[in-house]
């Protein structure tokens, strides 16, 4: 069975065995303690944790560490089996940051597709009032899973871009800790499986926020949600640590911080957030896990617990987390704009530092999710001020993008279309924020579809559009082939208008009284037509993403062979051959001599790397 030699499948096999061992262990202990052997909650929870450990051993991602501990030598070889090609290469263990980046990307697309199909399912239910085919419990589970699986998918997409691009952009041959990098990636696989398994354990009906006491009463699926997110958080922390060390220690000669491509600045800002805030969501979920497992009472009102405390801990991470999603996307926008307008990025330092400013201010705004929660009332006004402050560094980005575009000689290939679409959608998302930020208006908007519309606009503009832009833009770098331009544009022109219909529709029904997270709504609100429009728009987006997938699959096999630097970019990764050699710049050392975005300045150079000669026609 050759397939079981691939890391993914060995890991899965180990995970099944590990889960059974863990379950058996708990049952044995319970037997020895003289309490009933079978209690699904502790048995499954420990089983899942053991399964995760076993998965990590099975993939081989911890082998080298064990060898080091035993004093055995290891090789610098990137791949567990260098002969693997095509898709198989990505199903096996590798320490190469480019392979890991693409692994993250593929896993992200899987998760986003799964989460998207949950959304389509319950959007169909919402197309008309009354319950059609989804019972409320299943509706709640799908709605909750849509949220958390999307968040995972987005964080995986963020990690995909950071992993693939950061070392290439700063002139490093790999990440600072390649083995840790692989370890962090593979954690996501059991994490995703455990999370999705919650469907088979009764689901959970709390939304992705998991507020107790509801999450204290929810079915066993709730624990699967907590464990999945917990392991995922560990991966985020390890991954961001790796990126930070890579940025600080592995830059090419002359690559001072203010000469880095601006995307690296956003990776820096997001990594600081992930490294320092993720613990809080882990902690809050762990506390509810322990309530359920050991009867602890942190958030149990009947034993003096406080339900508001959970929300503070939860949002202390979960608000900054959205800046992790969007900053990366905004980094892609800032990175691609100069290339397609052939002009320097307007106010490079302001754009770079605004990312850090957003990250910093983002730590002081969490309680704006709690204006109606019943927290201490005096907290609301200071959090209103800090929340609106986020608009200032965000505004700098918008104005600088406009400054970049002004008098630029723009061309409109697919990546640029997604950049422009992304800016306009993120603008809509950003501008729909202040009404939630001022407390009085938020009292009407909180927990309505306005929030859903606002959030989806920030996510689409701040992540989804830029993510698609990035995939199209770096597709030739990753595969050596071009995507199909016609289908790329079709994807864009379907998705942009559909998204506007969806998002504006959500905002409108929210204002008119549509609450979030409900399986059914009142005809009397007069929003049925808008609901139908939102659902149709959702399906159009799905169709456009389907076109994207077909384009990708077909182009990876049969696409035109790409030129070395199809976008005529100054960034160092485009000076290398495509696909990039295994050890990046090991045979192409370079020095940074100038500014990254000096488009239009005759004779200016960014890096000293020799351009790769164009392959001649006879090759």
């Amino acid at each position: 069975m050759a397939i079981f030699s691939l890391g993914l499948f060995t890991g899965l096999l180990y995970q099944i065995v590990g889960t059974l061992v863990g379950m058996g262990l708990v049952m044995l202990i319970r037997l020895l303690m003289g309490i009933p052997v079978w209690n699904p909650e502790p048995v499954w929870v420990v089983g899942m944790l053991f399964g995760t450990l076993a998965f990590m051993v099975g993939t081989g991602s911890v082998d080298d560490w064990f060898k080091w501990a035993k004093g055995e030598p290891t090789t610098d070889e990137h791949h567990s089996d260098p002969r693997l090609t095509g898709l198989k290469k990505y199903l096996a263990l590798s320490f190469d940051h480019k392979v890991i980046g693409i692994q993250y990307g593929l896993w992200a697309l899987v998760m986003i597709t799964v989460a998207g199909s949950f959304a389509l399912t319950f959007r169909t239910e919402l197309a008309a009032p009354d319950l059609q085919f989804l019972q409320p419990d299943l509706y709640n589970t799908f709605m909750s899973l849509h949220g958390i699986v999307m968040i995972m998918g987005i964080l995986l997409g963020v990690a995909a871009m950071s992993n693939y691009l950061v070392p290439l952009m700063i002139g490093a041959s790999d990440m600072a800790f390649p083995r840790l990098n692989a370890f962090a990636f593979w954690l996501n696989v059991p994490s995703g499986i455990i999370l999705l398994s919650s469907i088979f354990f009764g689901g959970f009906d709390t939304g992705w926020t998991g507020y107790p006491p509801l999450s204290d009463q929810a079915p066993l699926g709730m624990q699967m949600f907590f464990i999945g997110v917990y392991i995922f958080g560990l991966s985020s922390i390890l991954g961001s640590l790796n990126i930070l060390v890579t940025i600080f220690r592995m830059r090419a000669p002359g690559m001072i911080l203010f000469r880095m491509p601006v995307f690296v600045w956003t990776a820096l800002a997001t990594s600081i957030i992930s490294l320092t805030a993720t613990q809080l969501i882990g902690l809050s979920f762990q506390m509810v896990m322990f309530q359920r497992l050991f009867g602890m009472g942190f958030f149990r009102p009947e034993v003096g617990g406080n339900v508001i405390l959970f929300q503070h801990l939860f949002w202390f991470y979960s608000h900054p987390a959205v800046y992790v999603f969007i900053l990366t996307g905004l980094g892609v926008i800032s990175e691609l704009l100069p290339v397609f307008v052939r002009k320097p990025l307007f106010g490079y330092r302001w754009v770079a530092l605004s990312s850090l400013a957003i990250a910093l201010v983002g730590f002081f705004v969490w309680a704006h999710h709690m204006f109606a929660s019943g927290m201490e009332t005096y907290l609301r006004v200071p959090f209103m001020f800090s929340t609106l402050l986020v608009a200032v560094p965000t505004g700098i980005k918008f104005f600088s993008w406009v400054g970049t575009m002004w008098r630029g000689k723009m061309t409109f290939q697919t990546p640029m279309l997604f950049v422009l679409g992304g800016i306009s959608v993120f603008l809509l998302g950003g501008l729909s924020g202040p009404p939630n930020g001022t407390v009085a208006t938020d009292l009407h908007l909180h927990d309505t579809y306005w929030i859903v519309g606002h959030f989806h606009a920030t996510m689409f503009g701040g992540f989804v559009f830029p993510f698609f832009a990035a995939i199209y833009y770096w597709f030739p770098k990753m595969t050596g082939r071009m995507y199909n331009e016609k289908f790329g544009k079709l994807h864009f022109w379907l998705m942009l208008p559909a998204f506007y219909v969806q998002s504006l529709g959500q905002m409108q029904v929210g204002l008119l009284g549509m609450r979030r997270r409900i399986a059914d709504y009142d005809v009397a609100l007069g929003i049925s037509a808008s609901q139908m429009a939102i659902t149709i728009a959702g399906f159009v987006i799905a169709v456009s993403v389907g076109i994207f997938f077909l384009n990708l699959l077909d182009s990876a096999k049969r696409g035109e062979v790409a030129e070395a630097n199809p976008w005529n970019s100054r960034s160092p990764e485009w000076q290398l051959p495509s696909p990039v050699p295994e050890h990046n710049y090991a045979d192409h050392p370079f020095e940074v001599l100038g500014e990254p975005y000096d488009y239009g300045l005759v004779g200016s150079v960014y890096t000293s790397l020799d351009p790769v000669p164009e392959p001649s026609a006879t090759d």
């Binding site: 009906d205 320097p344 929660s373 609106l388 422009l420 407390v439 927990d447 008119l512 007069g526």
Partner: protein, 337 residues
């Protein structure tokens, strides 16, 4: 400079279009409380600023896209403009001033919304999965409909018997989460209805299976009608224990989960249940009698009927007296087919 003027004109045109468009669209429900006045004023200010800022960025974008785009055959780069520090300072400082001013306005409106009237009518609002109960402590009235006199402030004292709920009547605009816990967790929401009419309170915080249906009618009436209603309610406690039991069951949200027509909801139906033999989760059997029903209300999780989730929390029946439970048992007894 010529380009700049044209782009500015485009922005102005888009702003006007945006504001006119937003004025045409149906965006907010009827305004039916004093608190809504300030909130709606702030909304309309927000909408105008949104229209302007959207036009500002998109206008300049569209102008760049259509006017400066690369012409056929041109292969040169754009102008080498690296930035402009005065512009950056300008678009940092001006937005800073604007957001500080907006926060100040927001705080002012919030102050208006929270203004306390010492003569406010007190109503205890109790949320349970998945129903609302309204108690008027000054009048000894309990109701499943929230009846409020027009043009008088009501202070709603919100509490929950189980999970977090949220009290929201869209026409009143204001919203407040309803928390479980002791008296320290009771939260106040002040509303001054200004329009006579019928509304609906909708739970806005996800609270489990039937969250979508956790609604209750709200009726705003003239002061004299309100007094009449109070008197009717006080006199409306039925003599018949069965009818009293039905009233208690309605007020305490029992019927959200237990049907009286035989259909299966979250809990077992009450139709024909009295005297029947039921199989418990642990395999034992129970005859449903007075003692079992009493126990199931006081300690719901003790013995659960097979096939049903242990969804009911002890808090639900906490405020029921033994006499009221006896009435409910009488009511259940009466449900025979």
């Amino acid at each position: 400079m010529r380009h700049f003027i044209f782009a500015a004109l485009l922005v102005a045109a888009l702003t006007v279009l945006g504001i006119l468009g937003l004025e045409q669209a149906r965006l907010l429900p009827e305004q039916a409380s004093l608190q809504a006045v300030g909130i709606d004023w702030l909304f309309s200010l927000h909408f105008k600023v949104i229209a302007f800022l959207f036009a500002l960025i998109v206008g300049f974008m569209l102008y760049s896209i259509f006017v400066f785009r690369r012409r056929e055959g041109d292969t040169t780069d754009g102008d080498h403009i690296e930035g402009n520090t005065s512009l950056e300072v300008l678009w940092t400082v001006v937005p800073l001033g604007v957001v500080l001013y907006f926060s100040f306005l927001g705080a002012q409106v919030l102050g208006d919304v929270e203004r306390i009237d010492p003569l406010a009518l007190e109503v205890d609002v109790i949320g349970s999965q998945w129903a609302w109960r309204f108690e008027y402590p000054d009048y000894d009235v309990v109701s499943t409909t929230l009846v409020l006199p027009v043009d008088q402030q009501a202070v709603l004292r919100l509490s929950s018997t189980d999970v977090i709920h949220s009290f929201w009547v869209p026409e009143f605009r204001v919203k407040q989460d309803v928390l479980p816990g002791d008296e320290n967790m009771i939260r106040d929401l002040r509303v001054t209805p200004t329009e006579v009419g019928e509304y609906t309170v909708r739970c806005a915080e996800l609270c489990g299976t039937q969250h979508a249906y956790m609604t209750a009618p709200v009726v705003v009436v003239q002061e004299d009608e309100f007094q009449t209603w109070l008197e009717e309610q006080a006199a409306a406690i039925p003599e018949d224990p069965v009818e009293r039991g039905r009233l208690w069951a309605e007020q305490n949200a029992c019927l959200t989960c237990h049907s009286i027509d035989g259909s299966k909801l979250v809990g077992p139906t009450w139709l024909n249940v009295y005297g029947s033999q039921e199989i418990m989760e642990d395999g034992s059997t129970v005859i449903v009698d007075d003692a079992y029903i009493y126990e199931s209300i006081r300690e719901p999780a003790l013995r659960i009927v097979e096939g049903y989730p242990p969804a009911m929390v002890p808090g639900l029946g906490e405020n029921l007296s033994d006499e009221q439970i006896a009435d409910i048992i009488a009511f259940i007894k009466s449900l025979k087919e």
